[in-house]
């Protein structure tokens, strides 16, 4: 049987993780192709709804990554983001949506190797979890209903 290739979206901040991922490239460290990066100015800009949108549109997993605490280019964006993630994670857990579908990490501009590790680990983790069918089914039923109604 063919191996399941999960789709991952990564929301990263411009100053640390995006630059860190650049370093992975210049260091020619190889990692899985499953992830697509979206660049934000800061993790503080990341709206939790974008994560739910990613799942609704077919992502099996989401990576969110930014500067380490105290290293934020804007001083405190990542601290605010951390609180949001903590709350969001708690809510997902309570609603029965597996928070393991989202991988949060701090990757600095100097941590090219760590970025590769984060991606590889995440892909493995999501691969084990399989396709995010329970969420995708919601979309399907929604579309069906919509079609039905419309």
């Amino acid at each position: 049987m063919e191996q399941f290739e999960p789709k991952l979206v990564a929301f990263v901040c411009n100053w640390c993780t995006y630059a860190g991922a650049d370093l992975t490239g210049t260091s020619r460290i190889k990692y899985a192709t499953n992830v697509r990066i979206i660049r934000f100015p800061c993790t503080g800009r990341i709206d939790f709804m974008l994560i739910s949108k990613a799942f609704a549109n077919g992502a099996d997993g989401v990576i969110v990554s930014g500067c380490h605490p105290n290293d934020c280019h804007y001083t405190s964006g990542n601290f605010h983001a951390r609180r949001r993630w903590m709350s969001f994670n708690a809510m997902l857990t309570f609603m029965g949506i597996d928070p393991d579908r989202i991988i949060f990490s701090w990757v600095s501009a100097a941590e090219g190797a760590k970025w590769a590790d984060v991606v590889n680990q995440s892909v493995e983790q999501i691969r084990k979890l399989g396709p995010f069918t329970e969420y995708q089914k919601l979309v399907q039923s929604g579309i069906e209903e919509e079609n039905f109604n419309g």
């Binding site: 370093l23 979206i38 804007y74 964006g77």
Partner: protein, 669 residues
């Protein structure tokens, strides 16, 4: 409908070795909105850029996506190319298919697929892009230093020595600050004025420094590189060009008994005066509140005796307007006075003095010529009690922090006293001795061991006066809090150092944040100690927290380097990536409901309150407004806002939402 051009780069073989660039270009051409799609060996080369420029013109492109290396590498290159072809640079995007794709994956179908996905996503973003104008500003290469104490002097000299112009503003009639008042300095016991006055003279004579004393900053507008500053030059009541500083007027002035600020009220001065003999500039000023002429309309003795006819009674304050590129705040600190302490007499005992007053008593140029004499009767005190932590570390008095400098200067005071009055007794009440610093601990030990200063660990509860003696009631906590009562001739309070008067006002004028004690706040406690959160404004010395001379000087040099770095380029370009609160027609005016939860989130104090008023001037609604001069574009407020009333230019909700949708679209179209 947008007209987007896609340009896929081979980067030699850096990309094409693992990505099928031709296929990517071909697939991209099928994307909605894409009207032109090509691949090329080196997009960043001149011919590559020409390719882009020509395509923009030929196909009348409204957006450009270059699939190549990281935008952190070549985004400026292609934005420039677009601009040269007449396309707004912010309509171009880069798809990172090298660092994030070809270099990190093996050659495979998936790698090509990923490259295409990235291109598609950026095409989506580009189609949602709006033309933005970069905030591009010339840097005015003139610095303003506020405060002429040792930190301000050092900062001004260092900046001036890099070849840039400096304006130094000091509110008192002379520069020098508190350091000019000190007798000797710890831990070397060298004379403070002897090391400071040469620097003061250097400031006055430096061709790059313009000195405005007896002046204050009136207002500050603008932003980094382009501050517009108004300086109020208070009337000195004399023509500074004519005055030679001969000092004849000061000796003839009939008012002689005005308490001198420089002497901490322990000495007197006339109504026309220079604060101290080594003052820079050495030109007097008339204190109009105390001058007989201003009070009664008669006198004018100074005008009569002035050999150069420099006195100008009708002089008015002048407002100077200057363009400034960078500002260094060096406004220093004040100390609490003895009237701050109800339990220590609230200022009613003349012989309970503060540390700065003791400095003047110990100073050879002070009111007692360096003899330690107590203020009440001029007698030499045989027993002095020094009280450390007077006000500091005292939350009940609103000062939780340690003032840091008092342990050292108290040891110095006790030592100076013992050196001057050999048979005198010096008692120090302390809570902890904080003597971290080069040769500092050794200095305190010397006071205790060699100079026999009696240190008692405990705080003094109260002081009262009896038969010319001050009864000091304390406890020795190392002896089980046993009571200690000392009949002293004089008491010196090592009073807390506090933010200089007017700091809050100044901080508000400058949009600089400050802490609960009105000390200016640094941008980062460890990594940005001299920056503020407001671009182009830097801190030096004790205005950030109380600190001693070596620390102040080091910090001043640090701030000067920051200014010099800013002045090293002619043009400052700021990305137009700023947040905005939406506006809609009345009666709502904005979807913002004014909860202001975004305010504490902003690291730059860029979110202000805007009151919408009706014609009668009544506030009908308060809503948030972003000060674009201060906003740095992090977008933390955008994600927080529940009603989606704030958006971030360049990273709008529409763009980010579109990217997420696009990145997950089905494989090749």
């Amino acid at each position: 409908m947008s007209r987007i051009g896609v340009f896929v780069c081979h980067c030699g073989e850096n990309i094409s070795a693992t990505v099928d660039v031709a296929k990517v270009a071909e697939e991209a051409s099928k994307l909605p909105g894409v009207v032109h799609s090509v691949d090329y060996k080196y997009m960043c080369s001149d011919p590559g850029q020409t390719l882009v420029k020509e395509a923009i013109k030929e196909h009348n492109l409204t957006g450009v996506v270059v699939a190549a290396c990281s935008p952190r590498m070549h985004e400026p290159t292609f934005r420039k190319a677009c601009a040269q072809a007449g396309l707004n640079p912010y309509l171009s995007e880069m798809a990172n298919v090298r660092e994030h794709c070809s270099w990190v994956h093996e050659k495979s179908e998936q790698t090509t697929q990923k490259a295409f996905d990235v291109v598609r996503t950026m095409v989506s973003k580009a189609s949602n892009n709006a033309a933005l104008e970069p905030i591009k500003v010339p840097v005015t290469k003139r610095a303003l230093v506020v405060g002429g104490g040792v930190a301000g002097i050092q900062a001004a000299l260092d900046i001036a020595n890099t070849g840039h112009k400096v304006i130094l503003v000091e509110r008192s009639p002379s520069i020098g600050g508190h350091m000019a008042q000190l007798s000797e300095t710890f831990p070397t016991l060298d004379c403070s004025q002897c090391i400071l006055t040469p620097r003061m003279v250097e400031v006055a004579q430096h061709p790059n420094i313009t000195l405005y004393t007896h002046s204050e900053v009136e207002s500050v507008d603008g932003f980094i590189g382009n501050f517009h500053v108004k300086i109020r030059k208070k009337a000195r009541s004399l023509d500074e060009d004519l005055c030679t500083g001969c000092g004849l007027c000061t000796t003839k002035c009939p008012q002689k008994k005005i308490p001198s600020e420089f002497e901490q009220l322990l000495g007197t001065r006339p109504a026309i005066y220079t604060p101290f003999p080594q003052a820079v500039p050495n030109k007097p000023v008339i204190d109009r509140d105390n001058c007989t002429f201003y009070k009664t309309g008669k006198c004018k003795i100074c005008e009569i005796v002035c050999p150069t006819k420099a006195i100008r009674f009708d002089q008015e304050d002048t407002i100077l307007e200057v363009e400034i590129g960078a500002i260094v705040l060096a406004t220093g600190f004040d100390v609490k006075h003895s009237d701050f302490f109800p339990e220590y007499g609230k200022g009613k005992y003349k012989d309970v003095i503060d540390g700065l007053q003791f400095e003047r008593l110990a100073s050879a140029s002070g009111p007692t010529q360096g003899m330690i004499r107590r203020p009440s009767d001029g007698q030499i005190p045989k027993k002095i009690v020094f009280i450390a932590c007077a006000g500091s570390r005292d939350p009940a008095k609103g000062i939780e922090y340690c003032s840091k400098i008092c342990c050292m200067y108290t040891a110095k005071h006790a030592m100076l006293y013992k050196h001057k009055v050999h048979d005198g007794e010096a008692h120090v009440f302390y809570m902890d001795i904080r003597a971290g610093g080069k040769m500092y601990e050794e200095f305190v030990r010397r006071a205790i061991v060699e100079d026999h200063v009696n240190y008692t660990r405990g705080r003094v509860s109260t002081i009262y006066e009896l038969d010319g003696k001050l009864i000091v009631k304390g406890a020795d906590t190392l002896l089980g809090a046993q009571s200690v009562e000392i009949e002293a001739d004089m008491v010196v309070l090592a009073t807390a150092g506090v933010a200089s008067e007017g700091s809050e006002d100044l901080a508000q004028k400058m949009h600089v944040s400050y802490d609960q004690h009105k000390f200016f706040a640094e941008a980062h406690p460890k990594l940005k100690p001299v920056e503020t959160n407001t671009g182009g404004i830097f801190l030096a010395g004790a205005c950030q927290t109380t600190r001693d001379i070596p620390d102040s000087v080091a910090m001043a040099s640090g701030a000067a380097v920051k200014v010099a770095a800013l002045f090293s380029s002619d043009l400052l370009t700021r990305e137009p990536i700023v947040a905005r609160v939406n506006r809609i027609p009345g009666p709502s005016h904005s979807t913002c409901v004014g909860c202001f939860l975004c305010q504490p989130v902003c690291p730059y104090q860029a979110i202000e309150r805007e009151d919408i008023k009706d014609r009668a001037g009544n506030i009908i609604k308060s809503l948030a407004r972003i000060n674009e001069g201060l906003c740095q574009g992090c977008g933390t407020c955008v994600a927080l806002c529940r009603s989606k009333s704030i958006d971030l230019l360049g990273y709008t909700d529409n763009q980010m939402h579109g990217e997420v949708l696009s990145v997950l679209e089905e494989a090749f179209v």
